[in-house]
Symmetry: C2
Subunit: 280 residues, 2 copies
C-alpha cells in the first residue's frame, strides 16, 4: 500500500468516503483531530489522545463522541496494520449556512494509513531544521488545540523543498519560537529542559506532555516558558517530538551545529521503553 494510503475510512462508524458539502469541518475548519501511532494493530496512548480530544471538544463546545464507540472504530481501522497511523477527525458536523454553531451531531472520520517512511537516522543521528518565515498568529482561545485551522502550518511547510531539511521552526508574531510545523520543540539550557509556552499559540502535543512527565520521573529539571527565537543559539541540546517521529534530535539549525546530547538520549530511551510496554 502506498505511504499515506488509507486502508479503511469510517465516517460516523460506516465505511465511507468523506463529508458533505455542508460540513462545518470543510467550510470553517470547525473541528479537531488526533494522530495516533499504531503498533501490532493497536493504537498507542489511546487514553491520552481521547483525553485531549475531550478537552478540545469542551473548549470548542463540540459534543464529544462516546469514548467506547470511538475506541472501537480506532481499533477496527488499526487492526490490519503492523505499524501505521490512525487519524481521527472530529468536526462540528453539517449545519445551516452561517458561522453560528447549531445543535447537531458531530462528524467523526476515523482512518488508518501506512506509516511515514522517515529515515531511521533522523532519530539516531539527528536532523537539520530551518526557520520558517511564516509566523503563528496569537489567540489564547485556540492556543494548544489540535484544531482544523492549519493554514499557517501549510504555508510554513511550503517554504522549503530540500529533502535534507526535516522540519521548519515557527515563531509567533512576537518573535518567540513556538514549535515545528508538525512537531513540538525542546531545548536544554544549562542542564534545564525547556519547551515553549503554548498559551497563546501552538499545538500542545501528546509526546510533549509525555516528555515533560518523563523528565519529572527522571529528575530532570524542566520549564515551560517563552523562548525568544535567538535564544536557541545558546542551547546545549535541541530536539523535536511528535507521536509519529518520537524524538528527533536537532543536529543543525540554520548555521548552528548541535550535538546529540545526554538528555535527549535519556528521554528518547524512556519514550521507547514506554511504547514497548504498551504492546508487543
Amino acid at each position: 500500500m502506498a505511504a499515506g494510503t488509507a486502508a479503511t475510512v469510517l465516517v460516523n462508524g460506516v465505511p465511507g468516503s468523506g463529508v458533505g458539502a455542508d460540513d462545518r469541518g470543510l467550510l470553517y475548519g470547525d473541528g479537531l483531530f488526533e494522530t495516533l501511532a499504531v503498533r501490532a494493530g493497536r493504537p498507542l496512548h489511546w487514553e491520552r489522545h481521547r483525553a485531549r480530544l475531550e478537552r478540545g471538544c469542551r473548549r470548542l463546545a463540540i459534543a464529544c463522541p462516546d469514548a467506547g464507540v470511538l475506541r472501537a472504530e480506532v481499533e477496527h481501522v488499526a487492526g490490519p496494520f503492523a505499524r501505521g497511523v490512525v487519524k481521527v477527525v472530529l468536526t462540528r458536523g453539517p449545519g445551516p449556512r452561517g458561522y453560528r454553531p447549531a445543535a447537531g451531531a458531530p462528524t467523526r472520520i476515523v482512518s488508518a494509513h501506512s506509516p511515514p517512511s522517515y529515515p531511521p537516522a533522523r532519530a539516531s543521528e539527528g536532523v537539520a531544521v530551518r526557520w520558517c518565515a511564516t509566523r503563528l498568529g496569537r489567540n489564547p482561545a485556540l492556543a494548544g488545540l489540535k484544531h482544523l485551522n492549519r493554514l499557517e502550518q501549510v504555508l510554513a511547510r511550503a517554504e522549503w523543498d530540500e529533502p535534507e531539511i526535516a522540519e521548519g521552526l515557527m515563531q509567533d508574531d512576537g518573535g518567540a519560537v513556538i514549535e515545528g510545523t508538525m512537531s513540538n520543540l525542546f531545548a536544554v539550557f544549562d542542564g534545564v529542559l525547556v519547551t515553549p509556552d503554548l498559551s497563546e499559540c501552538g499545538v500542545a502535543g501528546i509526546t510533549r506532555e509525555r516528555i515533560l512527565e518523563h523528565a519529572g520521573a527522571l529528575g530532570i529539571a524542566a520549564q515551560v516558558r517563552r523562548i525568544p527565537a535567538e535564544a536557541l543559539e545558546a542551547a546545549q541540546e535541541l530536539f523535536l517530538c511528535n507521536t509519529l517521529i518520537g524524538i528527533w534530535p536537532v543536529r543543525r539549525l540554520a548555521d548552528r551545529e548541535f550535538r546529540v546530547g545526554p538528555l535527549v538520549r535519556r528521554l528518547a530511551q524512556a519514550l521507547s521503553e514506554e511504547d514497548r510496554a504498551c504492546g508487543p
Copy 2:
C-alpha cells in the same frame, strides 16, 4: 425550500454531495470561499468575486480554476433562484498525509441556497450590535483572505443567542476593531468615512471594496486605518456591510446609540442602484 437549503451542489462540475476524507479543505481548512448574491437567476458582481478568488489563489499558491468553467457552474446553480446565494468553496484538493502542499487538482464546490431571511428593518432602521470577547489573531500572511480557517468567527458568533443582536464586532489582540463576525465595518468621524486596516487580520470584503469606490465617486473623503475599539464611541455614523446584507446601519453598539446618518443613506442608495443596474 428551507432557508439555507442547497438546491444543487456541483463538486468539480459534477452533481455531488461532498469531498473525500483526504481533502485538504477538510483536514486543514486549506482553501478559500466566495459568497455571491443571486438576483433573477444570475450572480451579482461575478467579476469582483472571481478576481478576489484569483488573488487568494495566488497568495496560497492554489491553482485557480478556469474562470469560464467556474462562471458556468455558478450560473448553472444560480439559475433556479429569483433571489438566493451562491457559495463557491475552493480547496487545494486531496493529497497525501502532511501539511506540505503537493501538486494536484483543487476541489471546487459550487452550491446555491435560498437567501437568508433578515428582517428588512435592519437595512432601513439599523441594527443593534455587541462586542465579542473572542479576538482575531494577527497574521499578515493570511490577512484579507476569505480562507477556510474560520474558527475565530465560529467562536465569536457562539457568544450570543439574542435575536435582537444582529452582529458582533471583533477586535484584534491589540485592541483595534477589525470587523463583524460576517461583515466589514465603516465608521464616520468628523465627516470622514473610515474602515479598519486589514493588513494584519480580517476579511477584505467585496462590498467594503465597492463602498470605498462609491465614496470616491461621490466625493466622500475615506480612509483605511487602524481604529482603536474605544474610538467607535466618538463616531457620528457606524455601519456594517457584506454581499448579502448590503448595508446595515448600526443603531446601537453596547450602550451607545447612533443615528442612521446621511453618509450611510447615500452609500446604501449607491449600492442599491448599482445592484439594480446589474440585472432585472
